[in-house]
Symmetry: C2
Subunit: 276 residues, 2 copies
């Protein structure tokens, strides 16, 4: 069965208007929409759509010469998700996004669980990543990718962290933002207090931490807390929870926060017997 596809010949056609003109900030923030880009993310969006969770597909736009390559993915979307196609001349006229990948979908954000709901739903043996003041979309995507690789149960971001549904973050996450349970709300202190109250061992990561990562003791529930790029975690948070360091050679900058998350989640997942 071949999926019905509508050709667009006019870059100003309003059916593809959401892909152009609108600034991403307005799209994600005010309209509850997001842009999914590339084959890998499109495949995850199709799974998320069928699973009936908070993220669904609104419409899809594929460059004509990329259609054959994604035909199998397009067939997994229900018929009420329209698929549009256009030639590169039209694609190139659509402003606002860098379209060179030629595979785009407009996603819709439904009701996401609150942080309290997410914590309440966590299994008895749990591993979560918490990001405080994360400002870089690449790092946000990288943290989701690593959390997924090491089987974390959720990612909790405070309200000052950037939105992982931004195009770049979503792409770097290889779509895992659409699968991993997550929330982005509230203050750092409140999130950590709630986790501690729910029996979590709170592992704050800092280059100046006293405890080396490999000396962290096994716990039933563990939360790994990551700070902002450059500044790291606020001093009062580091004072409240015994900070842990990834041992490394002196000199230069510390590790990138997404890489640090990967290393710490690897070590914690190993400790908890989640990977072997």
């Amino acid at each position: 069965m071949v999926r019905a596809v509508t050709e667009i010949t006019d870059a100003d056609d309003e059916r593809i208007a959401p892909f152009s003109a609108i600034r991403e900030k307005d799209l994600v923030g005010r309209r509850g929409l997001f842009i999914a880009e590339g084959t890998v993310v499109l495949r995850v969006l199709a799974e998320a759509h069928r699973a009936g969770g908070p993220f669904s597909a609104d419409r899809i736009l594929v460059l004509e010469n990329r259609l054959a390559g994604v035909a199998d993915i397009l067939e997994t979307f229900p018929d009420d998700v329209p698929v549009f196609t256009c030639r590169s001349e039209v694609m190139n006229r659509i402003a606002g996004f860098d379209m060179h990948r030629g595979v785009l979908a407009l996603g819709r954000i439904g009701r996401q669980p609150t942080t309290a709901e997410l914590i309440a739903r966590l299994p008895d043996d749990a591993l979560v990543a918490v990001a405080i003041g994360l400002s870089n979309h690449d790092n946000a995507g990288g943290i989701f990718r690593n959390a997924t690789a090491f089987g974390a149960d959720a990612v909790l971001l405070d309200s000052t962290s950037c939105d992982p549904l931004y195009r770049k973050a979503l792409r770097v996450s290889v779509g895992s933002v659409l699968k991993m349970p997550w929330s982005r709300q509230g203050e750092a202190r409140d999130i950590l207090a709630e986790l501690a109250g729910a029996g979590f061992q709170v592992v704050t990561l800092s280059p100046s931490g006293e405890v080396p990562l490999h000396a962290v003791e096994r716990a039933r529930r563990t939360a790994l807390v990551l700070g902002t790029e450059g500044e790291g975690l606020p001093a009062d948070i580091l004072k409240s929870f015994r900070p842990v360091r990834i041992p490394q050679s002196p000199g230069l900058d510390s590790l990138n926060v997404s890489t640090a998350a990967g290393i710490a989640l690897y070590q914690l997942a190993l400790l908890k017997g989640r990977i072997a």
Copy 2:
């Protein structure tokens, strides 16, 4: 003492020509020059220049309103390295590079050691990272940053890998490309054969590897071998050396190669007692 600084008022001034017009490919490949960008890399370039190794500074261009912020770094360059400054109107007219950081240096590539020379110089107890067919500059920079963080002795790239002196790679490496001994030449098989001949335990990384990373045995000399993004290492290399996997949850894509390098180097450095 205040460093002498020459103001440039014309974007076509030939003293700043190397920062514009020339495509980076030609600059790095044919002319033996590279662009260092931002405060962090400028500081490392100053150290490399003073150390008298293969990398030196040719000239520096700093946006007028950034001068005060980098004054302490500029003073550490010898007087025969000219420092130019300009206003943002002039900086914006310089094409070819994204100049928003406002701190640029032109670097000069001297004679680098060959792969054989590098291997011959390695200490008795050694840890090196080897990259085969690496194509992404962000990942190249990330691998250097991680190799530095975990005290690796050298990074060996095969001739098909991308150049770590490209602006983006150098920036992501936080300048470590200018400090870490490295080479980029030869075929993968020859490099690995040479390492094996020099008594190296060759650890090839692959998602399908039989041995989990934490089960690798301690060896006096260890080489971690990383494959190209997407494809991974060629089958014949994986067949010749027992491949090692970073254990992870099933599903989605495998880890990003720079993150995988970080995790593996962390584990190997720990095993070898290089970090604690």
